[in-house]
């Protein structure tokens, strides 16, 4: 038995070693082949990428095999494995701690590398692709080294261990553990691809139109996954953590949000480059910033310098990640200094009141937003280093700064969609924004009608109506011209994403500002009233298995439908986890949690009821963002790709 167990660890480690060799050779082949224009050498590049991916898949399979067979000879299985974990959560336990997460990172990175290598295999002779491949292999090499050194998932564990605690209870409690981490990682790791192309462009000092489009599409792909992953994370938090919120400005959440912000800045300002050929160096810098921020975020959250509820383990990979981050930043800044002038375009932007101007204002806001989140995340470290005292920067700080930034972004979303390129006149704006502005006024009147109060939420609803009006106006014009094809393409798909964002902003403003809650002690047979709803306690249900003892309180809301908030005690870990139960409606959610202490023998239960308006619209808005991103990923029909970018496009019907 032990001999077999040793095999899966050794095999996994051997696979990772082979992967490292493949990545190093791939890097050399890319560099040599590109420098000497040697097609024979370049033809090897996709093969090395294939070797990397086979190696990582094998290592991952070994890890899963060890997990499934409960191979407790491995330290990692001792840490996150348990005989009592159900099959599904045992499968996902592979990414429930640091070493396995880095292995999954490696897997996704290798898949990205092989896709790029094979997709562009006929264009490898182009030095830009050659250098991009070299960059991909360089990043692969680093991560293979991590998995072989400080984040080794196949390390031997202490002898004689026959069972483990299993993954953190929060990671064996909800189906989203299957989806949220991998999807978020695809977004995170996918940012390597546009970064590699950015480095390629800087080294060759050349930025062809075609590569710009490819880079944008890959960035959009990663951005879409990152967005989706973040929203799923919010949903998971809501379903599992029991405080009825989706976002706590926790360091790990921030680490995913900061690259999202810079990535969002990029997918906007790259349109200026596509259209006018400008801002080339700026856009490359945004891509590099986005990628390096994923590394910095991983450093901050995985090295133990910052702690959070999500950082499910500490380790000594900190110095490696920090060094890698430093190398990336130094090399990139050096390359920009060396090549920047060559890439810079001679054109100018005519007027700040233009679509270009709006995209630049967008970049300033997203840049400041990213800075604020990063500052709030690392500020405790700064204070500790300088004054050796503890400081906590929490939700209220981020909320206070994010609210004005978010409202300003909404203002921009009202105006920017209708702005023409180059230059706009006041009269044109008054014409085009007239009906969208009335949509804003209508939204304001409506929210006053249903009793909304408070300046910030009311401003959000007004601007939300206005911005939705502006986005719908663009979509209406596009579909009038082109029918359903008017929904496709970056600009129009982008408008669908905007509507999703607006819905999310409105839902967040409403649920953050108007959540009401009450603790109620319920007795069997005596329904209680709160917030216009009745709550009737039926009984406690106790369930017990090897893994946990769970107590559910069955509660009937408004005479129909049983909801069962629960408290589960995970036996191996000795930790109590509350599981909320939610009744979702279009106008509001009723969110129930069972409050400790629970005495099953009695017939009273203490519950906390949260009434949260418009929560469901958060997920609807998220879905719309996903649909819009897909629509934006397809080429639109506004311009034939063969036309020069300066060719006139069909005039918009004047509104």
């Amino acid at each position: 038995m032990l001999a077999v167990a040793g095999v899966s660890g050794s095999l996994g480690r051997a696979a990772l070693l082979i992967g490292l060799v493949g990545a190093v050779f791939g890097m050399f082949a890319s560099v040599m082949g590109t420098r000497q224009h040697d097609e024979k050498v370049l033809r090897l590049v996709p093969r090395f990428a294939t070797l990397c991916v086979i190696a990582t898949v094998s290592a991952f399979v070994c890890m899963e095999y060890a997990m499934i067979t409960r191979d407790f000879s491995l330290a990692y299985i001792q840490k996150v494995g348990s005989k009592s974990t159900p099959a599904l959560y045992n499968f996902t336990a592979v990414w429930s701690a640091l070493e396995g997460s880095i292995l999954m990172w490696m897997l996704i990175l290798a898949v990205c590398t092989v896709i790029i290598a094979w997709k562009y295999r006929n264009r490898l002779i182009d030095p830009l692709v050659g250098w991009a491949m070299a960059t991909m292999f360089f990043v692969c090499t680093f991560f293979f080294m991590l998995t072989l050194g400080p984040a080794n998932p196949f390390g031997k564990g202490a002898a004689g261990v026959l069972d483990g605690p299993g993954p953190n209870p929060l990671l064996q409690n909800h189906i989203l553990v299957v989806f949220h981490p991998p999807i978020l990682y695809v977004g995170y790791v996918g940012m390597t691809i546009p970064f590699a192309f950015a480095i390629g462009a800087l080294i060759t000092g050349r930025l062809g139109e075609g590569w710009l489009l490819e880079t944008r599409r890959w960035a959009l792909f990663s951005w879409g996954f990152l967005t989706f992953g973040i929203i799923l994370g919010g949903w998971w938090s809501y379903e599992v953590l029991g405080w009825s919120g989706v976002w706590a400005w926790d360091p790990v959440e921030n680490a995913s949000f900061i690259p999202w912000l810079t990535g969002t800045a990029y997918i906007h300002s790259v349109l200026v480059q596509e259209r006018r050929g400008m801002l080339r160096v700026w856009n490359l810098s945004l891509l590099i910033a986005t990628f390096s921020l994923t590394i910095l975020g991983t450093f901050l959250t995985r090295s133990g310098v910052l702690n959070s509820v999500h950082a499910f383990s500490d380790s000594d990979i900190g110095p490696y990640l920090l060094t890698f981050f430093g190398v990336i930043v130094l090399v990139s800044v050096g390359l920009i200094g060396w090549r920047g002038e060559k890439l810079r375009s001679p054109g100018t932007i005519d007027s700040p009141i233009s679509r270009e101007g709006a995209f630049l204002a967008n970049n300033v806001l997203f840049g400041v937003f990213a800075f604020v989140v990063l500052l709030g995340t690392v500020f405790p470290l700064i204070v500790e280093a300088l004054q050796n005292r503890q400081l906590i920067v929490g939700e209220p700080f981020f909320d206070q700064l994010a609210t004005p930034i978010g409202i300003t972004l909404l203002v921009l979303m009202c105006i920017a969609p209708v702005l023409p390129w180059r230059k706009a006149s006041g009269e044109l704006l008054r014409q085009r924004l007239f009906w969208p502005a009335w949509a804003g006024i209508a939204a304001l009147v409506m929210s006053l009608g249903v009793g909304a109060v408070g300046l910030a939420p009311l401003l959000t609803f007004t601007l939300g109506g206005f911005a939705a009006g502006a986005a719908l106006r663009q979509l209406a014009l596009a579909t009038r011209r082109q029918g359903l094809r008017g929904l496709v393409g970056r600009a129009n798909g982008g408008m669908v994403v905007h509507i999703g964002v607006i819905i999310i902003a409105v839902a967040l403003a409403a649920s953050n500002s108007y959540t009401r809650s009450q603790e109620i002690t319920l007795t069997v047979g005596k329904p209680a009233q709160y917030g216009g709803h009745s709550f009737e306690f039926v009984r406690f249900v106790e369930e017990k298995d090897d893994r946990r003892i769970s107590v559910k309180a069955e509660i009937i809301i408004d005479g129909s439908g049983t909801y069962a908030p629960a408290i589960q005690k995970f036996i191996n870990v000795g930790q109590n986890i509350g599981t909320p139960s939610v009744k979702s409606m279009f106008t509001k959610d009723i969110y129930l949690t069972l409050q400790p202490p629970v005495k099953v023998s009695t017939n009273t239960a203490k519950i906390k009821v949260f009434i949260k308006p418009l929560m469901m619209w958060l997920w609807i808005g998220g879905g719309l963002m996903g649909v819009g991103t897909l629509l934006a990923a397809f080429p639109g029909s506004r311009r034939k790709p063969t036309d020069p970018v300066s060719a006139p496009i069909a005039q918009e019907a004047s509104a």
Partner: protein, 166 residues
């Protein structure tokens, strides 16, 4: 006829009126009272501003830890007694529990940087953008460089190629 009406409708004066309408409506909405806060709502508001002492950056509101439960109970007692305002309860908790219980940095000393830096960055970025626009404005219709002339000459040469049908 229609278009002049349209123009008049969407002219400055109408926009001014719309602006005034929005300001008036916002003033009404921002000024009026929401429904009475229950004790639980007040407890939520206060605990959202307090840090859980044992769990790294979570608020007492979010946290399920026993130490947070203690603070929550104390806040509940204070709210129930009705003696203190929210701010006073926060100050009371800070003095009686000690340690770092505030989630929002103060605006004094080194901590003030966290408030000043975002504003400084915003001002710098906006100023930088404004300067860039000014430079762009100056450069409009700017001079062609030698590289530009060489490129044009090269293309003109190509253009004289008799086989080029264009």
């Amino acid at each position: 006829m229609m278009s002049t009406l349209n123009k008049k409708l969407k002219a400055w004066p109408v926009w001014m009126l719309m602006g005034l309408l929005v300001v008036a409506l916002l003033a009404v909405g921002a000024g009026r009272q929401s429904g009475p806060l229950t004790q639980e709502d007040r407890i939520d508001n206060v605990t959202q501003r307090l840090a859980c002492p044992t769990c790294d950056g979570e608020s007492v509101y979010v946290s399920q830890a026993p130490s947070s439960q203690n603070i929550r109970n104390e806040v509940a007692r204070q709210v129930a007694s009705g003696q203190r305002t929210d701010d006073e309860i926060v100050a009371f908790i800070e003095s009686s529990f000690g340690g770092q219980v505030l989630l929002v940095p103060r605006a004094t000393g080194l901590d003030a940087l966290i408030w000043v830096l975002p504003i400084a960055v915003l001002v710098c970025c906006t100023a930088g953008l404004a300067l860039t626009f000014r430079r762009w404005k100056r450069e409009q219709g700017g001079q062609a460089s030698d590289a530009d002339r060489a490129l044009v000459a090269q293309l003109l040469e190509l253009d004289t190629d008799p086989t080029d049908s264009l």
